[in-house]
């Protein structure tokens, strides 16, 4: 049985998940100001902020790169919704910004709140009148993802089956280990750890986590960057894809000095498309900054469409696996055989490009049955990741020939994390499994 903790820092997106002008992310918990401060452009102002202060600035990722321009609404202990030390981040409502900010909060040690957890803390601190039946009802509802019985009922049948299958596999791994802990060596048959079972469980976990990737692909979308030298037609393609003239298209090199972004939907996948400054050496300070930003965007993209100009000589360049190389201006000059060619001016080849983009985005989540997009919540994915990490630790412990009571620590941790999704596993369950499967000792 998992319970709300109340001594850590939680965060959650308070506005709906989707593109909008603005989004709000809530953070609550003792120490949250100090934890966030290093990533805020005005660190000191945040650390020393009085209650009910608004701070304008930038939030940056761990490498110091700006994620977004934000406004922080600061509450000190004893104020605000939860009466805890808290911050509300108002940021731009793009999915990519939200994703990056949530990732940042998670990576610096905050915990994604369970639904209703802010309300729960508000309850605990006496902020909300408990006698209100409505509030109690809300609380019960809010707890439901934690109440595994409810969560389990809500899971689609396939996932439930799959998770239970994995839990049973894990129990099948743990039971023979635990039975070794319950009896002395001379009462037991020789024990060989079922490595294949562990490996197959790790495979299963990996596949399920991949299904999270496809789940998030459809839910959170992908970031695609149009890149290439100046004047290869990136903005023309951008406009064509959006079917509207958003970028300033002109034949002058370096017209797009900063990046422009827009959302579109491709085969059901929400896509954030970036038109970037063309990459070239430039003496212009502003343009150099634009190019620097382009490079940063390319670094964080899920997919890069690198445009080449069919009318120019080929440049030998190495591209990484995320890159689709496309020859533009195919209407002006015939590109080499076998390459992806388009004309942003005439629209020729765009269909092929789009299906290639879709194919590439779904790559890596291949083999996952799309009709059963299963893991959808970050909480579930986090639990699975934690279980996977624990089991990888078990593999290392086994390789180091550590004793079984030590190995059992990792197995039990993995079981605990799976239990967070499927319902708790108690020591009693393990004993049941032992009793029904082993003929043992004295």
């Amino acid at each position: 049985m998992s319970r709300y903790r109340t001594d850590d820092i939680i965060y959650a997106l308070a506005t709906p998940w989707g593109s909008a002008a603005l989004a709000i992310i809530r953070i609550s918990g003792s120490g949250s100001h100090a934890l966030l401060a290093p990533y805020f452009s005005k660190s000191e102002a945040l650390r020393s902020a009085k209650n009910a202060t608004l701070l304008h600035g930038y939030l940056c990722d761990q490498e110091g790169r700006r994620i977004d321009e934000v406004v922080l609404a600061v509450n000190t202990k004893g104020h605000g919704y939860t009466l805890e030390e808290a911050v509300e981040i108002t940021c731009h409502g793009s999915l990519s910004v939200i994703t990056e900010l949530l990732d940042l909060l998670s990576s610096i040690g905050m915990r994604s709140a369970e639904p209703g957890e802010f309300t729960f803390r508000a309850f605990l601190s006496g902020r909300i009148d408990l006698t209100q039946a409505e509030a109690v009802h809300e609380l019960v509802e809010a707890q439901s993802p934690v109440a595994r019985a409810h969560a389990l009922a809500r899971l689609d049948g396939g996932l439930k089956e799959k998770l239970n299958g994995m839990k049973n596999t894990l129990l099948a791994l743990l039971a023979p280990v635990e039975v070794q802990l319950d009896y002395s060596e001379d009462e037991l048959d020789e024990f060989v750890f079922p490595d294949e079972l562990l490996d197959s469980l790790l495979d299963d976990l990996g596949r399920l986590l991949a299904s999270y990737a496809i789940g998030t692909l459809y839910k959170s979308g992908a970031r695609i960057v149009l890149a290439g030298a100046t004047n290869v037609g990136k903005s023309s393609l951008f406009n064509l894809l959006l079917k509207e003239e958003r970028s300033i298209v002109s034949p002058v090199r370096g017209t797009t000095r900063d990046y422009i972004e827009a959302d579109l939907l491709l085969e059901g996948i929400p896509i954030r498309l970036y038109d970037t400054a063309g990459l070239r050496e430039s003496g212009d300070e502003i343009e150099r900054e634009g190019i620097r930003r382009s490079e940063h965007l390319i670094g964080g993209a899920d997919l890069v469409i690198h445009l080449l100009d069919s009318t120019e000589e080929d440049v030998d360049r190495a591209f990484d696996g995320r890159t689709i190389v496309v020859y533009n201006k195919a209407d002006l000059r015939r590109p080499p055989e076998g390459v992806l060619a388009i004309s942003a001016a005439t629209g020729e080849g765009i269909g092929d490009l789009l299906s290639e983009v879709a194919r590439r985005l779904k790559r890596g989540v291949e083999g996952v049955d799309e009709s059963r997009i299963v893991i959808q919540s970050k909480r579930q994915a986090d639990a699975l990741l934690a279980a996977e990490a624990a089991l990888k630790g078990v593999k290392e412990d086994l390789q180091a020939a550590l004793p079984l009571d030590i190995v059992a620590v990792g197995l039990n941790e993995a079981l605990h994390h799976l239990g967070l999704i499927t319902g708790e596993v108690t020591p009693n369950d393990i004993l049941e499994s032992i009793f029904s499967n082993f003929c043992v000792g004295k």
């Binding site: 709300y4 109690v136 030590i406 004295k442």
Partner: protein, 601 residues
């Protein structure tokens, strides 16, 4: 009042309860059916083993007697699983049964404040939901302020050997008839459980020379923390196996078993099945192991560990004679099953005080457990808490992270049991911290606080801790394999004995100290990881629930949770979450209610 305290039963629970109460200073009477059966080892002639050995040392650290008794009666000692991990190493000793029981009686007789009386308790005297005394078979009415009930397998006990059955608690020892029935009438939730014991055979008729020998350790350690070692004889045990002929005979006669014929209704322990159970449940196995253990030095009786049976005597005899080494074995006592009354332990608070009747404490097999060690630790806790009650102080409740004893009692009162409950390593989530070697560090202070340990014990503990630190310091300043000896010891293949060869100063410390340092250092990372889990766990353990909380006033609880909470009346949110059928939302509602309540206060 005739006495401040009264203990019913002279088994392993009764002994600890009686000694604890009288040692803490209360005038106590121990009533038993048979003075000659005090401290008897009814089943196997051994104390300790995995998790059970840990319990014995916990009893010792708190100020109980079991460790002293086995230290003075052992005839073989072993640390089990010495080559395995820290949580599964445990001491186990073969006991001379007769010495053990004689010592137990001697200790009771030598105890100030403690009287011993032979009679059978047949009823409890209860006034306004509070116990005030007992009635005996010979019509005595004895009054006391607190009573500890430890009836073992004797309450309405009945033994079975094939078609034969008799109202006995042990073979040829009459059951305590009437008490179980009286308790049922008074509304106690009484049920039936079953356990069994194997045949004893005569040593001179067994061909031990052909069998595998199992020797004890050369240097026995003591169970008790009160001294550094023991000087006792060491005799071997032997190992043999059943075979397909044995199994065929059992299968052919299974219909004559009272277990399969429906005569026995009580649930037996699945972990300690009779041989007929093993043969039926595991038909694919072509053999089962038997440990042949001496019952003592001055006796020819040998205990056949692994083939407990309630088949008819002619069948027992036939299948025993198919076993290698036992072809000509003379059976001196047959194996038998015993069925007895137990009281659902969910009707107890974690202090082991009854929820139905104030000042009545219940311990041992009466609570559905099995095993001498399980009985002893409950007897000790019941005795301590009866004394705390007399003093008007808070009961001693050990956490699941503090002691196997705590795990055992929490399991019993929270989950109840439907089969004889035996302790297992796997029942304890925090077993890396519940090692046998650190039981004194975990519990001596608590024993002192309740009045069973003295300043000398605390001083001895302080010296031990400082010696452990000295050894660790030595390891830090010496080098081994191009790193500090301390870090070297963390490597799986490096042992402290190996280090002792190159660091002669280590020789000045006794093996028990070196042993503990080795485990501490080697598994430090994992122990710390466990401690973090414990921190999470403790938050909910420290959220207390008043025992009189009216669950009907809590809106939103599920019906199942409400019923169970009313039945179990947990004392902490942690305990509540372990009740089967509780959902997280139920726990949340409970937490909110408690927070609000404390906010109002």
């Amino acid at each position: 009042m005739d006495y401040r305290a009264l203990v019913v039963g002279g088994g392993h629970a009764g002994i600890e309860a009686g000694l604890a109460l009288s040692r803490i200073g209360f005038k106590t009477l121990l009533i038993t059916q048979n003075l000659d059966a005090i401290g008897r080892l009814s089943c196997n002639p051994a104390i300790g083993g995995l998790s059970k050995g840990n319990i014995v040392r916990e009893v010792d650290a708190l100020g109980g007697e079991m460790a002293h008794l086995i230290d003075r009666s052992m005839i073989q000692f072993r640390i089990l699983n010495r080559k395995r991990g820290p949580a599964v190493q445990a001491p186990r000793a073969q006991a001379d049964k007769y010495t053990y029981a004689r010592l137990a009686k001697e200790i009771l007789e030598g105890q100030a404040n403690l009287e011993i009386f032979m009679d059978t308790v047949v009823d409890l005297i209860i006034e306004r939901n509070r116990i005030v005394g007992v009635k005996t078979k010979r019509c005595h009415e004895i009054s006391a302020e607190v009573v500890v009930l430890t009836t073992g397998t004797f309450m309405e006990g009945r033994i079975f050997i094939g078609e034969y059955d008799a109202p006995e608690g042990r073979l040829e020892e009459p059951a305590a008839i009437g008490l179980g029935t009286a308790l049922r009438k008074k509304g106690f939730p009484v049920g039936r459980l079953k356990t069994g014991t194997p045949a004893r055979v005569r040593k001179s008729s067994v061909d031990l020379d052909r069998l595998e020998v199992q020797e004890g350790d050369e240097e026995p350690m003591s169970f008790s923390f009160d001294y550094d070692g023991v000087d006792r004889p060491s005799v071997p045990c032997h190992i043999t196996w059943t075979n397909e002929t044995t199994h065929r005979i059992i299968t052919e006669n299974i219909h004559r078993s009272p277990l399969y014929g429906g005569k026995i209704v009580g649930q037996g322990p699945r972990y300690c099945p009779s041989i007929e159970d093993k043969v039926v449940r595991f038909p694919d196995r072509d053999r089962h192991q038997i440990f042949i253990e001496p019952e003592g030095l001055g006796t020819e009786e040998l205990y056949l560990n692994g083939i407990s049976s309630s088949l008819p005597e002619d069948v027992q005899s036939a299948f025993i004679h198919t076993i290698e080494g036992l072809e000509k074995a003379q059976i001196m006592r047959p194996g038998y099953a015993v069925e007895y009354d137990y009281i659902d332990p969910q009707a107890l608070f974690p202090s082991l005080e009854s929820k139905l009747v104030e000042n009545l404490f219940i311990a041992g097999q009466t609570n559905g457990t099995s095993g001498y060690e399980e009985a002893a630790c409950q007897g000790l806790i019941a005795g301590i808490n009866a004394a705390q009650k007399l003093k008007g102080e808070k009961p001693l409740i050990l956490g699941r992270n503090e002691a196997y004893t705590g795990v055992l009692i929490d399991d019993l009162v929270t989950l109840g049991t439907e089969e004889p409950y035996r302790m297992f390593t796997s029942r304890a989530e925090y077993r890396l911290n519940l090692r046998h070697d650190n039981a004194d560090q975990r519990l001596t202070q608590k024993g002192y606080d309740v009045g069973l340990r003295t300043e000398e014990h605390l001083q001895r503990l302080r010296e031990k801790v400082s010696r452990i630190e000295s050894v660790k310091d030595l390891l830090r300043i010496h080098r081994y394999r191009e790193k500090s000896a301390f870090d070297a010891l963390k490597m799986p293949e490096v042992t402290i004995e190996e280090l002792a060869e190159s660091i002669p100063e280590l020789g000045a410390f006794p093996p028990s100290i070196r042993y503990q340092v080795e485990l501490d250092v080697k598994y430090d990372g994992y122990i710390k990881r466990q401690e973090r889990q414990i921190n999470r766990f403790e938050r909910f353990e420290t959220m207390t629930i008043p025992p009189d909380l009216d669950y009907d006033t809590l809106e939103g609880l599920s019906t199942e949770a409400r019923q169970k909470l009313k039945h179990i009346r947990p004392l902490s949110v942690g305990q509540a979450t372990r009740i089967s059928g509780m959902r997280s939302s139920d726990a949340a509602i409970l937490i909110i209610h408690l927070q609000r309540r404390s906010g109002d206060a």
